[in-house]
C-alpha cells in the first residue's frame, strides 16, 4: 500500500453510521476527487472511535486532528481549507462546554487522555474489514508465538499468572476456567465467545466486534489451542447487524490466510469458527442458557454444577468467554503476564471498557485501568454533567447492578469494591444520572425489564419480580403505603436467596441499592406524595408561570392533548383535567422564557384565564422566536 500524505480515519461504528457517516464518506470522496487529491488522501472506514457523543467524526492522520459533529455541508469547506490549503478548521474541532478555544489534537482531548488502550488498541486506526491492517499492527503474532513455541499448559499458566478475570461481569479467573476444561477427559471440546450483550446501556462488545474483529478471532483461537478445542461459536445478538457482518467477513479472511481451519500456520493445529445469532432474549447472556439457545432448545438456564467447562454444549466441555476477555488474550501473550498484572489493583488486573452514557457531557466508550475512581471517570474523562445539573448517581452493571450515589464518588472501580457497594461490574455500562432522574422510577424501570425477561423457570424470579413491580408501581403512582419499603427489602432478599441463575439472584440489586442510598426519595413518594425529581407522572403537574409566559403560542400549537388555553397577548393556561403530562410544552417553550414549570407535592396555583401578558423589554416577536428555535 502506497503511503499517502493524509489518511482520514472516518468512524463507521453503528452510532456514527446512524448519524450519517456513509453519507459523509460519499461527499468526502467526491470532494477529494474534485480537487484531484485521490493519490494523496485515503479514507479509512474504521470501527467505533469511542467518542460516540461527537459522531459522526473523523480523525486526520498523521497529525491526529479530531473533527466531530460533521455534517455533509461542512465537507467541501473542510476539504478545501484543511486538505488542500493545510489550514485545520477550528469550528469543526471539539470544544469542551466550559472552554471557548477548541482542542485540535485527539491526544489532548481529556476524553482520550486518561484512557489506556489494550482491548481497544486498534480502534479507529485500522479498517476492520481488512485483515492486513490488523496484521500490520502485530496481529496474529501472539497466535504464531503460541502455536510455535508454547505448550497449551504454558499458555494456561501465562493467563493464570496475568490475573485476567472474565469481563462479562462475574469476574471468574479466565485461566482457571481454561484449566478445568483442559483437564476434562471428554472430547471434542468447544470455545464459545459470548457477545449476547443484553445489558441496556452497554455496547463495548459490539464495538470490539465492529472495530477489531480479528483480535477476538485470535484470542478465541489461542483459547482453543490451550484447552484442545477444534470448533468454536461466536454468539452475537441479532440487534447488532453490522457486528455480524464484519465478523463474518473477518472469519472468511482468516480462513483465506490459513489462520482458521485445517492445519493453522502449518503447525497441525486445526480450529474453525461459526457465528450464531441470538433473537432478542436477555437471559441468553447466561452461559447455560446461551448453550441451550445454540442447541435449539428453549433457552432456560440450568443448575450449575456441572459447569459448562465440564459439561457444556452438546454435552462436551466448553469454555465460554466474553468478547473483551478474548480480545485481551493476544496482548497478554505478546507482552507477557508480568506486564499485564502490573496494571490495575491487587485483585482486578488490567483494563476495563465502560460505556459512559446518560446525563454526561462526553458520551462514549472508554477503556481505563482498573482501580480508577468514579470521580476521574465522570469529571475528567466524561467532562461532568450537562447544563450544570447536580450529579446524583451512576448505575453500573445493567439490570443486575445497582446505583452508586454521589457520596461514593471516590470509590475505586474494581470487582470487589463495586460488589461491596451493592452493585457489580457487569458488562461495564455506566449510566450517569443527574437530579432530574427519579431513583424509584429507575428501580421500577429495571424491575420491569427483568420481569419481562425472566424466563419463568424459578417462581421467585418470575412471580417475585412481578410482586416487586406491583409495589414499585404503586409507589410511583402515589399510592404507596407505610411498610412498602420494608416489604420490598424482605421480598428482594427472598428472591436473591431462592433463584437459580444470575438473572434472578441479581435482579433485586437496583431496588436494594436505591433503597440503601436513596431511602428518603421512597419516603417522599409514600408519605408526601411527592416525586423529588419530578418524574413520576401521577405526582407531578405542568404549570405555566403567568409572570414568565410571553404568549408565543408555540406550546398551545404543539400540545397533543389540546390542553392549553391561550391566544396572542393572553397568558397561556394548562387545563389540568385535559393534560396528559407528556411534557411537550416544557420541551418546546423557548429556553429564554422558561415559563413552563413542573410541580410536585404542592397544589397547582390557580391562574385566571384571559390575563394580559407582561411584556419584557426587547422580546422577540413570536415569528422570530420560532425561526430561531
Amino acid at each position: 500500500m502506497a503511503a499517502r500524505r493524509i489518511e482520514l480515519m472516518l468512524c463507521t461504528g453503528t452510532g456514527c453510521v446512524a448519524g450519517g457517516a456513509f453519507r459523509i464518506k460519499k461527499v468526502l470522496e467526491e470532494e477529494i476527487a474534485r480537487h484531484g487529491l485521490q493519490s494523496e488522501i485515503s479514507i479509512v472506514p474504521t470501527g467505533c472511535n469511542g467518542f460516540c457523543g461527537q459522531g459522526p467524526l473523523l480523525v486526520v492522520m498523521p497529525e491526529k486532528i479530531f473533527y466531530g459533529w460533521l455534517k455533509t455541508e461542512d465537507i467541501p469547506f473542510l476539504v478545501q481549507e484543511h486538505f488542500l490549503k493545510g489550514r485545520p478548521v477550528k469550528k469543526l474541532m471539539f470544544t469542551p462546554p466550559e472552554r471557548k478555544e477548541p482542542i485540535p489534537l485527539l491526544s489532548d482531548i481529556p476524553f482520550f487522555k486518561k484512557q489506556m488502550l489494550i482491548v481497544l488498541r486498534n480502534k479507529g486506526i485500522i479498517d476492520p474489514e481488512k485483515i492486513d491492517d490488523y496484521i500490520a499492527r502485530d496481529g496474529y503474532a501472539a497466535l504464531e508465538k503460541v502455536l510455535t513455541s508454547m505448550t497449551p499448559e504454558e499458555v494456561i499458566e501465562e493467563i493464570i499468572k496475568s490475573g485476567l478475570r472474565g469481563r462479562g461481569g462475574a469476574g471468574f479467573p479466565t485461566g482457571i476456567k481454561w484449566k478445568v476444561c483442559r483437564n476434562e477427559p471428554k472430547t471434542p471440546k468447544y470455545v464459545i465467545c459470548n457477545c449476547d450483550e443484553g445489558d441496556p446501556g452497554a455496547y463495548m462488545d459490539r464495538s470490539v466486534l465492529e472495530s477489531d474483529p480479528h483480535s477476538v478471532i485470535e484470542g478465541q483461537t489461542i483459547a482453543a489451542y490451550a484447552i484442545g478445542a477444534s470448533h468454536g461459536y461466536i454468539y452475537v445478538r441479532t440487534e447488532y447487524p453490522l457486528a455480524i457482518k464484519r465478523m463474518q467477513k473477518a472469519i472468511e479472511q482468516a480462513r483465506e490466510y490459513g489462520l482458521l481451519g485445517e492445519n493453522i500456520l502449518g503447525t497441525g493445529f486445526s480450529f474453525d469458527l461459526e457465528i450464531r445469532e441470538g433473537s432478542g432474549a436477555f437471559v441468553c447472556g447466561e452461559e447455560t442458557s446461551l448453550i441451550h439457545s445454540i442447541e435449539g432448545k428453549s433457552p432456560e438456564p440450568r443448575q450449575r454444577p456441572p459447569f459448562p467447562a465440564q459439561v457444556g454444549i452438546w454435552g462436551c466441555p466448553t469454555v465460554i468467554n466474553n468478547v473483551e476477555t478474548l480480545a485481551t488474550v493476544p496482548v497478554i501473550i505478546n507482552r507477557g503476564a508480568e506486564w499485564f498484572s502490573k496494571i490495575g489493583t491487587e485483585t482486578s488486573k488490567g483494563t476495563k471498557i465502560f460505556s459512559l452514557v446518560g446525563k454526561i457531557n462526553n458520551t462514549g466508550l472508554i477503556e481505563v485501568p482498573m482501580g480508577i475512581t468514579l470521580r476521574e471517570i465522570i469529571y475528567e474523562i466524561g467532562g461532568g454533567i450537562p447544563g450544570n445539573r447536580k450529579f446524583k448517581a451512576v448505575q453500573t452493571g445493567g439490570p443486575s447492578g445497582g446505583c452508586i450515589p454521589a457520596s461514593l464518588i471516590d470509590l475505586p472501580i474494581d470487582y470487589e469494591s463495586l460488589t461491596q457497594a451493592g452493585s457489580m461490574m457487569g458488562s461495564g455500562g455506566m449510566i450517569v444520572m443527574d437530579e432530574d432522574t427519579c431513583m424509584v422510577d429507575v428501580a421500577k424501570f429495571f424491575i420491569q425489564f427483568t420481569n419481562d425477561e425472566s424466563c419463568g423457570k424459578c417462581t421467585t424470579c418470575r412471580d417475585g419480580s412481578a410482586a416487586l413491580l406491583e409495589v414499585l408501581t404503586r409507589i410511583t403512582d402515589g399510592e404507596g403505603q407505610e411498610g412498602d419499603i420494608e416489604f420490598l427489602e424482605e421480598l428482594a432478599w427472598a428472591i436473591k436467596d431462592a433463584s437459580m441463575c444470575g438473572l434472578g439472584t441479581t435482579l433485586p440489586n437496583p431496588v436494594l441499592t436505591t433503597i440503601r442510598y436513596f431511602r428518603e426519595e421512597y419516603e417522599a413518594h409514600i408519605r408526601e406524595k411527592r416525586c423529588p425529581a419530578k418524574v413520576c407522572k401521577n405526582l407531578i403537574a405542568y404549570w405555566i408561570d403567568p409572570q414568565l409566559c410571553q404568549a408565543c403560542l408555540i406550546c398551545k400549537r404543539e400540545c397533543p392533548a389540546e390542553a392549553i388555553y391561550g391566544e396572542k397577548h393572553i397568558v397561556h393556561v394548562i387545563d389540568q383535567s385535559k393534560c396528559t403530562k407528556c411534557g411537550t410544552c416544557l420541551e418546546v417553550c423557548p429556553p429564554r422564557f422558561g415559563a413552563v414549570k413542573k410541580l410536585s407535592g404542592e397544589p397547582v396555583p390557580p391562574v385566571e384565564r384571559g390575563m394580559k401578558v407582561e411584556r419584557k423589554k426587547k422580546t422577540a416577536t413570536p415569528l422570530q422566536e420560532q425561526s430561531s428555535a
Binding site: 440487534e239 433473537s279 432474549a281 435449539g296 433457552p299 452514557v357 449510566i431 397533543p560
Partner: protein, 304 residues
Amino acid sequence: MSNGGERREKVGAALVVGGGIGGMQAALDLADAGIKVYLVESKPAIGGVMSQLDKTFPTNDCAMCTMAPRLVAIGRHKDIEVLTLTEVERIEGEPGNFTVTLRRRARFVDENVCTGCGSCVANCPVRFIPQPLDSIPPVKLAPEVQARVDQIIAEHRNRPGPLMPILQSINAVYNYFPEDVLRYVSQQLGIPLTHILRVATFYNAFSIVPRGKYIINVCMGTTCYVRGSERLMERFSDTLKIKPEETTPDMLFTLKAVRCIGCCGLAPAVMIGDTVYGKLTVKEIPGIIKKFQGANGHGQAHTG
C-alpha cells in the same frame, strides 16, 4: 348470568369443574350459601397442584395448612357431592337452567372399603402404558412457500442445532411464523411442534402473529429511558393509534419496545428497519411516520 329478557327460575344446584384450591373454595362458598354443589375433578383425588407444594410464594404460607381444613370441610359438607375421575362431556340448556352430562371413569376400587393404604399402587406390575400416536396428516403448503421453506431447511438441516438458524431465516422472510409453516418444519425436522413453539415464543425478535411491514423499535434501554424514550413511545402510540406490540390495521407499522440497540451515544434512539433515528424528539415523530407512509403511497398521516 341471564341474557336479558325474562328471568327463569333457577334450579338450586351448581356444578364446579376442577377440584383444585380454587374449585374447592368455590364449592364451599356455594354450599354455605345453601346451594347443592357437584364438584367434578378428572384426577382420582381433589387437591390439585397446591397439594404438591410445601409453601406458597410470596407469602410463604404453608400450603397444607391452607388446604387441609378445606379438604375436611368438603368431605363433611352434606351439600357437596365430590365426583372424582370424572369429566364434563356436554352442557345443554342456558345459564341458570342447564343439564350437564358427565363421564365417570371406573376406579376399580370400592371407595367405601378402601383405607388408602397404597399397597395396590406399590404392587401393580404395569408402570407405563404408551399411548398410540395419532397419525398426523402431512402439512400441505402453497408450492412457492414450500419451495422457499424447503430451501431454508436444506441449508441448515445438517448443522448441529438447526432449529434456531431455520427459525431466524423464516422470520427474516415472513416477519412472523405462519402456523402451517411451523407445522411443516416440525414434520420435516422431526421436532415436536410444542418444542418449536416453546422456542418461537421465547425470543423477543420472533412473533406468531403477523406484523407490519415496518417494525418501529423504540429503544427502552436505560440510557434512552433516562433521556425520555418513554415519551417517544407514547407519541408513536398516540399518532398511530396502537399500543406497543400491536400492528396498524393497514399492516404497515408494528410498534415495539426493544432492549438497548447499543446506540447509547444517540439516546433516545428509535430503529425502523435498518435506520436508526438518534436524539429524537417527540416533535419529529409525525414527520417520520409520514415519510414511511409516503414511501408506500398512503395518503395523509393521522397526526395526533
